[in-house]
């Protein structure tokens, strides 16, 4: 790579900062990138050590968003978009601790709950009002219908097939997540002040 320009330019258009600035409640230890988009009118709550990648998008228009501890929200992931129902509820999206929402995934608002330790894969979509159990894996591009309830340790794969994860590696996963966050904190410049 040539070092002619030190600054890398994104091919994406600049993030829109229009819309109301939502009330936020941040823990002091979170990592939130400068180009993360927070919009909406309801409060957004992010607990300790969670990481929000650049260009992740959180929309609290349809209800309150709360993100648990040590969650990772990847690039272009969307939390709290208003679903097809257009329902507005008090609790929009609730993520438990250690939840990973991978690139381009979308979690719609409307009393949606994602349980502790769950991974929402690349480009997956979770419908409004779905309740995902603990330590689930939603593989890439899977779609969870609105209002669906998944039990703990469910793996959704291959166009909606279901199975139960019996590996019992939840603790290991948490450990890995913690290490990943440790690296990400060094990589992503955090600017929580911009949103407060």
């Amino acid at each position: 790579m040539s070092s002619s320009s030190s600054k890398r330019h994104s091919i994406l258009p600049p993030t829109s900062t229009s819309g109301p600035k939502p009330p936020v409640q941040f823990s002091s230890s979170i990592t939130i990138a400068d180009s993360t988009v927070l919009t909406g009118s309801n409060p957004i709550l992010i607990s300790s050590e969670s990481v929000l990648h650049p260009r992740s998008r959180i929309d609290s228009l349809a209800g309150r968003i709360s993100i648990g501890r040590r969650c990772i929200i990847h690039e272009r992931a969307t939390l709290g978009s208003v679903g097809t129902s257009g329902r507005i509820t008090e609790r929009g999206v609730t993520l438990g601790d250690y939840v990973t929402v991978e690139v381009g995934a979308s979690v719609e608002a409307g009393d949606t709950v994602v349980g502790e330790g769950t991974v929402v894969g690349v480009g997956a979509k979770i419908g409004a009002g779905a309740v995902i159990g603990r330590n689930c894996t939603i593989t890439a591009r899977s779609v969870i219908a609105a209002g669906e309830v998944l039990r703990d340790n469910t793996v959704v794969y291959s166009n909606g097939m279901r199975r139960v994860d019996r590996r019992g590696v939840a603790e290991l996963r948490k450990k890995g997540q913690a290490r990943q966050i440790g690296v990400l904190r060094m990589m992503i410049p955090s600017n929580p002040g911009k949103f407060q």
């Binding site: 040590r70 794969y157 291959s158 199975r163 139960v164 019996r166 590996r167 290991l172 948490k174 450990k175």
Partner: protein
């Protein structure tokens, strides 16, 4: 409806009815019929003979197109698609067509499985200290699927070593118990029978005292037990042969038929001379030691499992057919129907194949034998020998539905023929005046005969003065605004090694009420305007080959005239139904 991209399919002559060995009849009406016959792209047979140009090969010696249906294939190498290990074909017979190293597919989702070691104690040591003591990779190993999170611990299988998983898996039953081979069984039996007196000669139907009488045997052991039992029976019965012959010779319990069957399956070792002595009947197996398996009709355990696991716990047909033949499985009631007993699938081997012309046995395509390379040593593709035909709309009246052709109005298309050969070729085109099928569209090729200049080195062309535009000669009356009028008998445009001509079509109306026949509804894709076209290509080559060429050139003896003729189908687009 999505607009249709124009396409060109070529009919391989191998499926041509006139070449299918019917000439011997010499029936003149039949021959006339064949001569006048136009190729119908909608005939049911045509589905199997039309190929895009890229699918076709070309035999240089026969000077003929070869499609995937008319080549003979030979396997060059067998390899595992996962580890790219080349398997010698001698191993294939002994070890089967699956990878015998460590390559496995997930039985649930067919994703690749990876071998990982299990860390002994998962300590909840969190973010604060990234502990610098990664577990040494020594512990037991498991196979895991990173997609659906299946792991071999679900069927209770762990491995001691991280390599040669296939051999280790063959020795393990589900649940991790070691599979007893036939030899082990024999040894165990020997130890057990020391106390007992001899073989169970007397038929003892109430053999409840023997604990492992109904022991569940796997396929291999059962076969071995049965085999040894019948061998001993044969030896016994031939020793005491009776005078009654012939009558009992055909039943299941007849030793002669049995020895015949056994010699079929085991290679003739049991068929000894003494069997000619017409022995009497003999008894059947009575215990599991002798290979008897009593069907256990008690399915309560399966029902209980179904209650627990539900429908999601059962396996699909696909999963069960993907299961490799496992010698250790309990065979009697078929394989298990629950996902909890699925075993990892060793990767099926793949092949690299070479293709031969079936007529002259010359090789048409031969890949490099090494697995990792994707190159070919020999590859005679048709696009290097016969002209490429591309279709471009020229002048299409506006249609109520965008992207479709209006019926009963002339539409013009440009056909561009590109010559890949390094010789000048003469092309002659022929189309039926009306397309075959229920809706007959009118077709006019404005210039059915033309010559295309030879292909040259691309760089010669590129390095020439680019401002020299004289190469592209455009015929037809050029208007001031750059619009041209297509003229009959003249080519439209000409370049280095290509020629464009104009085809005019008048699509038929698809209205059913105009059709005099009983109006069946419009069939699938019947609205696509497809035109069969007969292409005849002629060129001259230096006489070098002995058997090529149809007519020797008259002008010079060193030149030979070759020709190639085939049908192709041009798909122009959909006809508007409005």
């Amino acid at each position: 409806m999505a607009p249709l991209t124009p396409y060109t399919y070529i009919q391989c002559p191998c499926s041509d009815a006139s070449t299918l060995g019917r000439q011997a009849d010499g029936d003149s009406p039949e021959d006339d019929d064949l001569d006048d016959r136009t190729f119908d792209p909608r005939a049911p047979r045509s589905n199997y003979s039309l190929y895009p140009l890229d699918y076709l090969n070309y035999c240089e010696d026969c000077q003929q197109i070869r499609c995937p249906r008319c080549v003979a294939e030979e396997i060059v190498t067998y390899f595992c698609p996962n580890c790219l290990f080349e398997v010698p074909s001698s191993n294939l017979k002994s070890e089967g067509n699956r990878c015998t190293r460590s390559c496995f597919q997930c039985p649930v989702c067919i994703g690749p499985l990876s071998v990982t070691s299990i860390e002994s104690q998962p300590d909840p040591n969190l973010l604060a200290a990234p502990d610098g003591t990664p577990a040494p990779h020594s512990g037991p190993y498991i196979l895991t699927c990173s997609y659906c999170n299946w792991s071999s611990t679900e069927i209770g299988i762990k491995f001691d070593k991280s390599n040669s998983i296939h051999a280790q898996l063959a020795k393990l039953n589900n649940g991790g118990t070691a599979r007893l081979t036939a030899k082990d069984h024999k040894e165990r039996r020997k130890e057990g029978s020391h106390g007992l007196a001899g073989p169970p000669a007397a038929p003892a139907p109430t053999a409840a005292g023997n604990g492992d009488d109904n022991e569940e045997l796997d396929v291999e052991t059962q076969f071995a037990n049965l085999k040894s039992f019948y061998q001993s029976q044969l030896a016994d019965s031939t020793a005491g042969s009776s005078g009654l012959a012939g009558l009992t010779d055909l039943g299941f319990s007849s030793p002669t038929s049995l020895s015949r069957i056994m010699s079929i399956y085991t290679g003739g070792t049991v068929h000894d001379r003494r069997a000619k002595a017409r022995p009497g009947t003999m008894r059947e197996a009575l215990s599991s030691d002798e290979g008897l398996q009593i069907a256990s009709l008690d399915e309560s355990s399966a029902i209980r499992e179904l209650h627990e696991a539900g429908y999601d716990g059962t396996i699909s047909t696909e999963q069960s057919t993907n299961q490799p033949p496992h010698l250790g499985e309990v065979y009697l009631h078929g394989s298990s129907r629950f996902a909890s007993s699925l075993r990892p699938i060793p990767y099926l081997l793949r092949t690299k194949r070479s293709k031969r012309c079936p007529v002259c046995r010359h090789i048409i395509s031969k890949p490099e034998a090494k697995v990792a390379t994707t190159r070919f040593r020999i590859k005679l593709v048709a696009s290097a020998y016969i002209p490429t035909i591309t279709i471009r709309p020229l002048n299409i009246p506006s249609s109520p539905i965008p992207g479709t052709l209006p019926p009963l109005q002339p539409s013009q298309f440009i056909l561009t023929f590109q010559n890949p050969r390094f010789e000048t070729i003469q092309v002659t085109l022929a189309t039926p005046a009306k397309t075959p099928g229920r809706f007959a569209s009118k077709v006019t090729v404005l210039c059915p005969q033309f010559e295309i200049d030879a292909n040259t080195d691309v760089w010669d062309e590129a390095l020439k003065d680019s401002s020299d535009k004289t190469k592209i000669r455009r015929r037809g009356a050029a208007g001031e605004d750059g619009t041209h009028q297509a003229e009959a008998g003249k080519i439209w445009e000409r370049g280095r090694n290509w020629v464009s001509i104009v085809v005019e079509v008048v699509p038929a109306s698809l209205r059913m009420d105009l059709l005099e026949a009983t109006a069946n509804p419009l069939k699938e894709d019947e609205d696509v305007l497809e035109i069969p076209m007969f292409v005849r290509v002629e060129w001259e080559v230096e006489a070098g080959g002995d058997e090529v060429g149809t007519a020797p050139g008259r002008d010079r003896e060193t030149k030979e005239r070759c020709e190639l003729a085939y049908w192709c189908v041009l798909g122009f687009g959909r006809v508007s139904q409005a």
